[in-house]
Symmetry: C3
Subunit: 336 residues, 3 copies
């Protein structure tokens, strides 16, 4: 895709944003906003569409600049450290664990009885895999993450450091002056190609399974409660929370610090703005914001109206004055 | 409680919700809403009150359906994995640690000098117990949780994976161009029958102790700052936060993503709705919502009024028009 | 600073707040509010300014009571547990790791190839240090924290339990029906004298580095996304979140559960009130609150106006009534 000849006599040592790029950096233009900064950029090479690059001699014309810069970033990536193939001597792998071909188990990781690890999966150091848990192939489990008993992880799944899969759901009934715990006998199913961020928590179902659908991506410090159903291809940004038995259809985007309350269903392709909280179902395709979340434009309009309240109050006061004057005049006339 | 004879010729293989139940599932009816779905449910057996079950042949009459379904879930629970009794060879238990009868210490766990672990307590793998910390009997500490030095954990306490008890409180004074740390010399006291969720944090007190009261239940990713006092039987849902020296009286319920600011006191039995933030004390028994949190009905009424703002603005504009017409007429008359 | 002779015949066994102090406690007065409680306090000794202490015989006069109480707390601090100097036999330190003089590495910690640990740094148990990572001198890394490959940690840095430094940033492009991960090839730089709370997450940059500036203090469960730039001396309270490429200038204070959205810049010395979310740049020196965050006084005024909406509605209704009466009178007169 990239015309290598065109950059043959330029040495590029780093990737950087268009404004920050130094004379040894390659950068990219994704939209008009960045195109306006092309002239002042010191970058050695600039990836973009021909409409944005014009005749700039540094330009490398591509159809999809964002995909092209991903390719470039891959080339600049430092080789990452992975444990040696096999089981590190300090790891504790129970008897009867089923390890696939090419599996790597890092130092001080613990794999409990009955667990299965698929081919070529990388388990970094200090990871805990529960009894009878099943991890697919080509996964990467980063340091200190925890997979609970009987949880099922698909293929090509990434769990980042400290992520916890399969803790008990949070459910109690209050009887005889104390909280009785509702047994949480279900599991968690993480489908293929899911990524789960650092220190995020996915709770085990009360019964059945909490599900994170194929290709969904979850950021850090996200809470997914028991029996939540997350459809495929969702994106859930940091510190968002999904309460028990809530449901995301395919392709939902939850921005940072958003929430969905118990049992609520969010329709296909919904986009929730930062910090919005869905208290009731949201129809497919909607963009929502606010607390409670509702149509983003309605929310913005209402906020604008609230901001005009001082003027409205002044206007009502002025009107009252004018009415008083009219009344005084009418009384005066009446008294004539 | 359950009449076993009545279900003798029915094979039940799972528990499920009334709508999702298949012909081999048992379900339950807790209220009128679910009772309406009884006729269309395919469940093999249904637990409920006689008033809800009527003469349905699948009915199993009980006084307390929610407690009964807990009993049923217990029966369906898979045996869970616990470490072998004693200390796993890879665990590191310092000299002088006092281990009770029947204690189990999992792989790669670390117990520091002077710690005490009560009878029958289960320490899973990768747990860290601080010096001179004291953990009671019949506790369960899940993988990768951390208990700091000198913290005290009562009996029958559960700490879920990644929970951190006894980190320094967050306090500084700004002097001579830098933040000086206020020493956090206190501890944490977790009373009996408490449960603390995955990756939640309970900070050590500046002096004295941060306290989580008897029977309180804390969900995942909750922050409890230094010197917080949580009374007995509180319920704190995921991602809630309690700032320094705040105080919950008995039986407070904090929903998900709620907050209590510094030094604020929440009265007995208060219920805080999702995402509400208490900026000032809340009296016993109140139900609050909003930012800042206040009486839930007041909050709802106010939101309704804001939604009527566009109409109010139209109304004021129409009134202004009418006043102008009256003024014009009065001027005209005055000019006569 | 403290006049030791004056307290020579008083035995002080603890530090406590002025109201809670018992007859064997020392307390302090920081402002007028506490000074009013001096007479009723049972404390054995009270640190304060002369203006607050008057002639109270228990008074210990100092210029800076908050700094003095820090000194006192230091004296009451229990000696804390640190691992023995050197490497614990259960720790796994790769060949070629560079350990400074006096370094302590606790049980079950893992230090990967190429890492450097500066003089006198304390690595507690169960810590994971990535390949080619660099940790400065006089640092303390608490149990179970994780430092990713190639991350750079300055001198005198504290990472609390479960903190995760250097997870991949959260970035994808959606192509051909799936999310393609944008490679996150950058690192994290934590400058000198930074403290990072339990289970907080600092993501690796897409390229370049995510930076936490000199002397900044971060509480528990905070999210710092890729390419965030945090200036020196900032204070970020628990559960706050900074989205990708956001920027804090020096000395910003973010209260608990606040947020800054993508690419937003917060000016020098800004104070963000609890739960406020900055959707756009905030100028230096501002105090902001609300969602979206704006000038705190404007926000408070607007909230007060919303609370006066019911009265405004009544007022408009009364005005409409008066106008109707004027119209009726005018019509009547016109009909004359």
């Amino acid at each position: 895709m990239i015309d290598e000849a065109a950059v043959a006599d330029v040495v590029v040592r780093r990737v950087d944003a268009i404004d920050a790029a130094t004379a040894d950096a390659i950068t990219w233009i994704a939209d008009d906003r960045y195109a306006r900064r092309l002239a002042t950029s010191r970058a050695a090479a600039v990836i973009g569409r021909s409409s944005h690059l014009g005749s700039d001699p540094r330009g490398i014309v591509v159809d999809d600049p964002e995909a092209a810069i991903c390719d470039v970033l891959e080339r600049f990536r430092m080789p990452r450290y992975v444990p040696e193939p096999g089981v590190h001597p300090s790891a504790v792998v129970s008897e009867g664990v089923d390890l696939g071909v090419g599996v790597r188990i890092g130092a001080c990781s613990v794999i409990k009885p009955g667990a299965e690890i698929g081919d070529n999966t990388i388990i970094h150091d200090g990871v805990s895999i529960g009894a009878d848990a099943c991890v697919g192939r080509d996964c990467e489990l980063h340091p200190r993450c925890v997979v609970g008993d009987r949880c099922e992880i698909g293929d090509r799944v990434t769990l980042h450091a400290g992520a916890v899969i399969g803790t008990d759901g949070f459910g109690y009934i209050f009887r005889e002056g104390r909280h009785r715990k509702i047994p949480q006998i279900g599991t968690v199913i993480i489908e293929d190609d899911v990524e789960i961020g650092a220190n995020s928590c996915i709770d085990r179902a009360k019964f059945g399974a909490t599900v994170v659908g194929r290709g969904s991506k979850i950021d850090n410090l996200v809470q997914v409660a028991h029996n939540v159903q997350i459809g495929p291809l969702c994106v859930i940004v940091a510190q968002a929370g999904l309460a028990g038995s809530s449901h995301l259809d395919a392709g939902v985007v939850m921005a940072g610090q958003t929430g969905v309350t118990q049992g609520v269903r969010i329709g296909k392709g919904v986009r929730m703005a930062t910090s919005s909280i869905a208290w009731s179902d949201v129809p497919a395709g909607a963009t929502v914001s606010g607390l409670p979340a509702r149509d983003h434009r309605t929310e913005l309009r209402e906020r604008a109206q609230v901001r005009r309240l001082p003027k409205l109050m002044d206007r009502v006061a002025a009107l009252a004055e004018r009415v008083s004057r009219l009344e005084a005049a009418a009384n005066h006339r009446g008294a004539d």
